[in-house]
C-alpha cells in the first residue's frame, strides 16, 4: 500500500526503498515501474545506488569480533614502547619519460591515438601512464595505469582550474577521471610512505 508515487514526479528514496522491499501495493508498484521504464535515468541511477547500499548492508553478516581476540590486538600496542615517529613525507618530483605531444612517434600510431595524448612518468620504481583526451564541453578525460606491486594503495589527485578530482587505482592499477577542466593541471600521487608531484601538465 503506502504512498503511490505520482506519475511524472521523480521517485524519492522512500518510494525506492518501498519498491525494493516490496512494500508497495500493485498499483503503486506499477507506477514506480512505469516511471523507471520511462526516460528518467536519474531515478534508475537512484534505484541502483540505493539498491547497492542496502544490499551491501543486508549482505554484511560478520559476527561480533570475540573479545579475547580484540584484547590480543590491543596488547600489541603496549608491547611497542617506542612508537615510530611520524616521518614527514617529502614531495618527490616524478620524472617525465615520454610525452606524445613532443616525442616523435610513428605516423600510424599518431593517427590511431587521435586527439589523445600519452604521458609516462617514473615515480622511483613505479611507472605512471596517463592518457588525456578532450571531451565535449571543454573538459578532459584522464585515463591512467599505475605499474606498482600494490597500486590499490595509491591515491592520485588531479587539480585543474578550481576543481580537484581523486582517483584510486584498481588492483590492476587502472583508473580514470572524467570532466577534468582544461588548463594547467597539477597531478600528485600518494602511496604508503611516499608522495610525488608530476611536472605541470597543460591539458
Amino acid at each position: 500500500m503506502k504512498r503511490p508515487p505520482v506519475g511524472r514526479q521523480h521517485l524519492d528514496v522512500r518510494a525506492i526503498l518501498d519498491y525494493l522491499e516490496d512494500r508497495l501495493d500493485a498499483s503503486a508498484r506499477r507506477n514506480v515501474e512505469d516511471h523507471l521504464a520511462g526516460s528518467c535515468s536519474r531515478c534508475r541511477e537512484l534505484l541502483h545506488e540505493v539498491g547497492r547500499l542496502t544490499g551491501a548492508m543486508l549482505a554484511d553478516r560478520t559476527p561480533p569480533v570475540p573479545a579475547a581476540m580484540r584484547e590480543r590486538s590491543l596488547e600489541v600496542f603496549g608491547v611497542r614502547a617506542e612508537h615510530p615517529t611520524s616521518p614527514r613525507l617529502v614531495w618527490q618530483v616524478a620524472r617525465l619519460l615520454f610525452d606524445s605531444r613532443v616525442s616523435p612517434i610513428p605516423h600510424a600510431a599518431r593517427r590511431a591515438m587521435g586527439e589523445a595524448r600519452w604521458l609516462r612518468f617514473a615515480l622511483d620504481d613505479h611507472v605512471l601512464e596517463l592518457e588525456t583526451e578532450p571531451e565535449s564541453g571543454g573538459s578532459m578525460t584522464i585515463r591512467g595505469c599505475l605499474a606498482s606491486p600494490d597500486p590499490a594503495l595509491f591515491r592520485i589527485e588531479v587539480a585543474a582550474g578550481d576543481e580537484s578530482s581523486i582517483a584510486w587505482p584498481d588492483s590492476a592499477g587502472r583508473f580514470s577521471l572524467e570532466r577534468v577542466p582544461v588548463g594547467e593541471a597539477s597531478v600528485t600521487v600518494q602511496g604508503p610512505g611516499q608522495r610525488w608531484r608530476l611536472p605541470a601538465i597543460d591539458l
Binding site: 526503498l17 547500499l53 542496502t54 543486508l58 561480533p64 569480533v65 590491543l74 581523486i166 604508503p192
Partner: protein
C-alpha cells in the same frame, strides 16, 4: 573524567596521530573502528580459531608499524584488507602443507578433495567496511534504525522496532528513507574524499525525539555491539 571517544570517518588521521603519541585509547578506537573488516577477511579463509586469533593479532601488529603512512580512511581500509588477505592466505596454505606432510602416503589422494583456501571478495568487504564507517557518522537513532532493518537477521517488524526505539510505527518508513538519504551523502563524501559534511540536518523521527548526538564506542552494528568502558583513568 575523560570525554567519550567519538568515531567518525574523518577521525582516522587524528586517531593515527594520537596512536603515534602513544595514546592507548586511540589505538583501541582504531582497532574497534576497523576490526570487523579484518575479522571478515580472515574468517573467509576458514582458519581454526587459534589461527584466526593469530592472523588478527598479526595484522594489527603490522598496523602499529605501518601507522605513520596510513592516515587516510580509504588507504587504511585497503591496507588492512590486503594485509589480512596476505597473512590469512599464507596461514591457510601453511596449514594445508603441514596437513599434507602429516598424512601417510596412501592418504594423500584424499587431499585432492580438500577445498583450497577460499579467500574473500575484498572489494565487497571493503565496501561493507566503508558503509560501517559511514553509519558511524549518523545520529545514534539513525544507526539503531538502520542496524535493526539491515543488519539484524531476521529483521524485526516495524512494530518491534518502533517499540524498541520508542517512536510511532508510522514514523519508521519515512525516517528510514531519510537515514538512507543521509547515509548516501556521507558515503559520497567518503568516496570522493570531499571535506566532511557539515550543517546537514540529521533525520529525526516524526515524533521529534531524534537528532544529532555523538556516536560512541559500541553504538554501531552487531559487530561492534559489545559495550566498552568509556571513562578510564
Amino acid at each position: 573524567m575523560s570525554s567519550p571517544l567519538r568515531l567518525d570517518p574523518a577521525e582516522d588521521a587524528r586517531l593515527v596521530e594520537a596512536c603515534l603519541a602513544g595514546e592507548a585509547r586511540a589505538w583501541e578506537a582504531l582497532v574497534r573502528r576497523h576490526e570487523c573488516l579484518v575479522y571478515a577477511v580472515a574468517r573467509s579463509y576458514r582458519l581454526s580459531d587459534a589461527d584466526l586469533g593469530d592472523v588478527f593479532q598479526d595484522v594489527f601488529a603490522a598496523l602499529v608499524s605501518g601507522l605513520p603512512r596510513l592516515r587516510d580512511s580509504r588507504t587504511l581500509v585497503r591496507w588492512l584488507s590486503s594485509t589480512t588477505q596476505r597473512i590469512a592466505r599464507a596461514t591457510a596454505l601453511r596449514r594445508r602443507r603441514e596437513h599434507a606432510l602429516s598424512l601417510a602416503p596412501e592418504e594423500l589422494p584424499r587431499l585432492a578433495g580438500d577445498e583450497p583456501p577460499v579467500g574473500a571478495d575484498l572489494e565487497r568487504l571493503e565496501q561493507q567496511a566503508m558503509i560501517r564507517l559511514g553509519l558511524a557518522e549518523l545520529a545514534p537513532r539513525c544507526q539503531r534504525l538502520l542496524e535493526a532493518l539491515y543488519y539484524e537477521d531476521p529483521a524485526p517488524a516495524y512494530a518491534e522496532i518502533a517499540q524498541r526505539l520508542g517512536v510511532p510505527m508510522g514514523s519508521i518508513g519515512p525516517t528510514r528513507a531519510r537515514c538512507i538519504e543521509r547515509l548516501r551523502v556521507v558515503m559520497e563524501a567518503l568516496f570522493s574524499d570531499r571535506p566532511r559534511i557539515t550543517g546537514v540536518a540529521e533525520p529525526t523521527f516524526e515524533s521529534g525525539t531524534g537528532g544529532p548526538e555523538g556516536f560512541r564506542l559500541g553504538d554501531i552494528g552487531e559487530c561492534l555491539s559489545q559495550p566498552v568502558q568509556e571513562d578510564r583513568a
